[in-house]
Subunit: 239 residues, 2 copies
């Protein structure tokens, strides 16, 4: 096994042990055991993560001094924010991931205004997601790239989730599931770019420890997000 293979295997090992596909709330979702209210609370709170994705990617762009890396990475922002039409009257605009998530929320019975207002955003979700954004702002950009490697396992969870929602939650409008279908194409491309950067650039043992720590941290973020949703609203909230 080459040193690169071994490093890659170590990164995948983090995900095998700690990615949020193992979280009890996620497992209940995929077994069809969530109530309508629980699924709605999840989609509403996860929206806060969704809106922060292009922010954290812009911070990575801002911290990365290499145009050739930025030229690829910028696609992630476009994927989430969408793209305006060409202005030639022929249309050609593209809906982004944020809009697709709003449609997912609507398909689950949550109004778009309710999601955009973040009225039901749980503090634990906000703290975890903000920690991720702050990580991308303050840490070396390659560590933020390493943190993004949860994308390696995204197709796995997304495929399962798509099937689970279709079969266990018939009240969810299947038209609203386009977000997941898009991610099945985007995530592998993103993960491939990121893993190539990480394995090419993190060469020393100390570097590789930093990459593993970044991925560990990102697993903490996703896990704590689901912890907060599972626990639900704090006392004294006007819901």
């Amino acid at each position: 096994m080459t040193a690169t293979d071994e490093f890659t295997r170590r990164l995948r090992g983090v995900l095998e042990r700690r990615y949020h596909h193992l979280h009890p709330f996620n497992q209940r979702m995929h077994r069809g055991e969530l109530s309508r209210e629980e699924l709605q609370l999840w989609v509403t709170n996860r929206f806060y993560y969704q809106v922060k994705i292009p922010i954290k990617d812009a911070l990575i762009l801002a911290n990365c001094p290499e145009p050739e890396v930025r030229r690829k990475w910028i696609q992630r922002i476009v994927d989430h924010d969408g793209r305006d039409g060409g202005g030639d009257g022929a249309g050609g605009g593209e809906e982004g991931g944020i809009e697709a998530w709003l449609r997912l929320g609507e398909a689950m019975g949550v109004g778009r205004e309710e999601m955009v207002s973040h009225r039901r955003l749980l503090p634990g979700v906000r703290f975890a997601v903000d920690a991720y954004v702050e990580f991308c702002r303050s840490r070396p950009w390659l560590e933020a790239v390493a943190a993004s490697l949860t994308e390696l396992f995204a197709p796995l969870i997304v495929k399962e989730r798509l099937a689970a929602i279709l079969s266990h939650y018939p009240w969810v409008d299947p038209e609203g599931l386009q977000y997941f279908r898009n991610r099945l194409a985007q995530a592998p491309r993103d993960a491939e770019h990121a893993i190539a950067l990480v394995t090419e650039r993190f060469r020393t043992r100390a570097d590789q420890e930093r990459a593993v720590a970044a991925l560990d941290f990102k697993c903490d973020v996703l896990w704590c997000l689901l912890d907060a949703v599972e626990r639900g609203p704090l006392p004294g909230w006007e819901a």
Copy 2:
């Protein structure tokens, strides 16, 4: 009732509904129902909050342009960091709250090195505490002062905790409880200064909403800290 009284009552109302004396984990602690491991996990994780207190107070100093306010506020930093002796060979140094918390941990059977290393710091605790520090860094200093008003209820919880530990956890060395005794004197003085500032300076309805929101936020921080401790280590951790 004067407008100030009404505002004060509103702030106290936030604490009555949302302060962490209501948290199930705190209530179990005070009823004597925590295991040794749970109490140790609490003291170790809460240490991260303790070490950030002087940091957030220094950020408030840094953001406050008024020397007469800073002259009082600085005492909080001294209370937590301690004070060196006079250098006249006569001693006269003072132990601060951080040192006192380390002694509390030792009295509960947690080594000082283990606490200082933050080896067992739970991600949810780190995210919540870091959010508080970031709040004090980025928001107007008077909002950070309003967030500190949880001190209004601190004597209540500290008095109960002191009695609970003495009666329910006989294995905790009572010598180690000085931190709580110190806070019983310090917290009322700090809270009095803070509530005077908040009620004098937040005069409009919009200002008062911001003060209430800051205190709500701080209650979220303390609550989420206990949520994370109650839930315990994430999977895949080497403990």
